[in-house]
Symmetry: C2
Subunit: 206 residues, 2 copies
């Protein structure tokens, strides 16, 4: 377990914050965001459940802090996928790669991903979380702007909505409807994902 319980009788100094976030990560990994319990996280950090209050306020604050880290990692995944491309790649390929990074993050971290869109568990107006969400939109906006530089605002909105919706919808459906026809096996899901990205990129270039 990655969580460091504190030594008996000692304070965590500034480290309780990190220890609690790591505990959330563990629980989310093991049982999903719904299963996160203030008391269980505190237990794993070796601390009473009230100890979280000074650091995060309440459960929602803790989950929001964790979601903020997820948003940053999601952004990093998209950037990494684009960076993995040869420098000669064209705009359409870059847009597809951005989506590939999004899908890869959702696949590798299903619980963390699902939490990002659980408005009931989060505080959508917490400044750091807000900033992380806006930052996570940047790679898509960037790739799209490079694809269709002169498109009118309305067409641009529609394409952004299409690309984001299609990729996000794919991740959500795969995460929430396991066993659906379109992604029975992992291999099939990967194939469908690639074809989907190609269709989206083509439609946005179109």
């Amino acid at each position: 377990m990655s969580v460091t319980p504190k030594a008996a009788g000692r304070h965590h100094h500034g480290a309780l914050r990190r220890a609690l976030l790591d505990a959330v990560a563990e629980v989310v990994l093991e049982a999903g965001p719904e299963a996160v319990t203030l008391r269980e996280c505190a237990r794993r950090a070796g601390v009473s459940h009230s100890a979280a209050t000074p650091h995060f306020g309440d459960k929602r604050g803790l989950l929001t802090a964790f979601a903020t880290e997820g948003s940053e990692r999601l952004r990093a995944a998209m950037q990494a996928a684009v960076a993995a491309l040869p420098p000669t790649a064209d705009a359409q390929t870059r847009l597809a790669a951005t989506g590939r990074g999004y899908i890869a993050f959702a696949r590798a971290n299903p619980g963390h991903f699902r939490l990002l869109f659980r408005a009931d568990l989060l505080d959508p107006d917490e400044p750091a979380f807000r900033a992380a969400k806006e930052a996570a939109f940047v790679p898509l906006a960037h790739a799209m702007a490079a694809l269709a530089p002169g498109a009118p605002a309305r067409a641009m909105r529609a394409r952004l909505a299409l690309a984001w919706s299609a990729v996000h919808g794919f991740c959500t459906l795969r995460a929430e409807l396991p066993g659906a026809i379109l992604w029975q096996s992992d291999a099939l899901a990967e194939e469908v994902a690639e074809d989907l990205l190609a269709l989206v990129a083509e439609a946005c270039a179109g």
Copy 2:
């Protein structure tokens, strides 16, 4: 309130089932699926919270029954949107209309819609729910088959994934990220939705 509390001392006969489902509908409407409480629903039906057990088993059973009704209504919304078309409408228009029905249902019943994809609150293997989910996929499959009758299986899978993902992703993002840039106002959201449907239908026809 649409819920009929039972008369004091009398049994609900077979009507408790319906009364509880109506109570769920109320709570979901007022505060979303996460806020549903067995005890609150029982309170609204004028019954102790244990009274639900013989009818639904547990909370998950109650929510699954409610979600089953939602799935059926979602299917009806898609069919209605297609039926509202002039009989001369072509296959591409019919596919877009199917998506329009999906979006309309999600918009009109955000809580009910979100519940459908909350695997943690539902029993995905409950037979009636399974059947309703499969039935809800039919209108999309039907419209897609009419659009591209001879397409190879792989291309068909990709197009189904695109259409479903894009429409579902749009609904999900709008429901879970209120206040995002792409759907600030209702009018803007409607415009984006129509453009999105057109792009999807075109990509699936192409």
